[in-house]
Symmetry: C2
Subunit: 128 residues, 2 copies
DNA sequence: AGCTGTCAACGAAAACATTCGTAGGTCAAT
DNA sequence: ATTGACCTACGAATGTTTTCGTTGACAGCT
């Protein structure tokens, strides 16, 4: 298993769509992106072709309009970015990242409860 | 007030040093970086000059060896990156980012307590 | 058969980021 | 006054990412 490269910004935007929609054609992706990125169709196509080369996406060529799907699980990519960011922006402190995220971006009551539960669990683990 | 551009990777590494050390010369920054980045002195210099142009750092030219300092508070930059990342990698869900960070990167007991406290506070706010 | 709209492929330009060599200035010690 | 160490400035090469124009193929319609 060759390690896949870290997606660039543009690639990330595409992955986001693929994760959300599941396997999609270039046109579908391009249209989903349209709001966020003002860019031509061939740009999206090219990017997706490059991603296929890199192995970031799988491509089904059986019909004329190819079907692309993400090869990386979303969670794994998220982990990669979080790790990177903790090192590069938070000087290694994951707690600082969490605090920053929590204090500026409010979560719902349910989410807060979920997070709290995770913390309790972590604390239990510490005791042992 | 002109909005400052998002720092690139290399710039971030330099900012990191400036935040930690306070105002520093190019040499000091370069030496601090040395472990992490295998790059020549003039590369660091150039990067810092560019950052000065962009407004990311302030430069005191009064003595021959210039003194550079970060113009952005660390917390503000962290906020910028977190916000960006929530949008681009977590599809807008801050809670997911927090969960991801907490579950893969363990924090100390004290930090966990601190985070928990912040959550309790948030929950109180929700009630009102 | 000829037209039209849609597609993938490709190549090249443009934009951006990183790297370093070289030159010229200043300062202090010899 | 010359040398050597150290500094900034500048310009150019390299590398990476993004962008798009053009081409040729295919499919459906008239």
């Amino acid at each position: 298993m060759t390690k896949l490269p870290k997606p660039t910004e543009g690639e990330l935007a595409i992955l986001q769509v693929l994760w959300q929609r599941g396997p999609s054609t270039v046109r579908q992706v391009h249209e989903s992106l349209d709001a966020a990125r003002a860019t031509g169709y061939t740009t999206t196509l090219k990017l997706m072709q490059i991603m296929a080369e890199k192995g970031l996406v799988a491509r089904d060529q059986s019909s004329r309009t190819h079907l692309y799907s993400a090869r990386l699980p979303q969670a794994q990519t998220q982990r990669q970015f979080v790790t990177d960011m903790i090192a590069k922006v938070f000087g290694g402190s994951s707690a600082q990242l969490v605090m920053q995220a929590l204090s500026t971006h409010t979560a719902s009551k349910e989410e807060l409860a979920e997070i709290r539960q995770l913390i309790e669990q972590k604390k239990e683990e510490k005791k042992r």
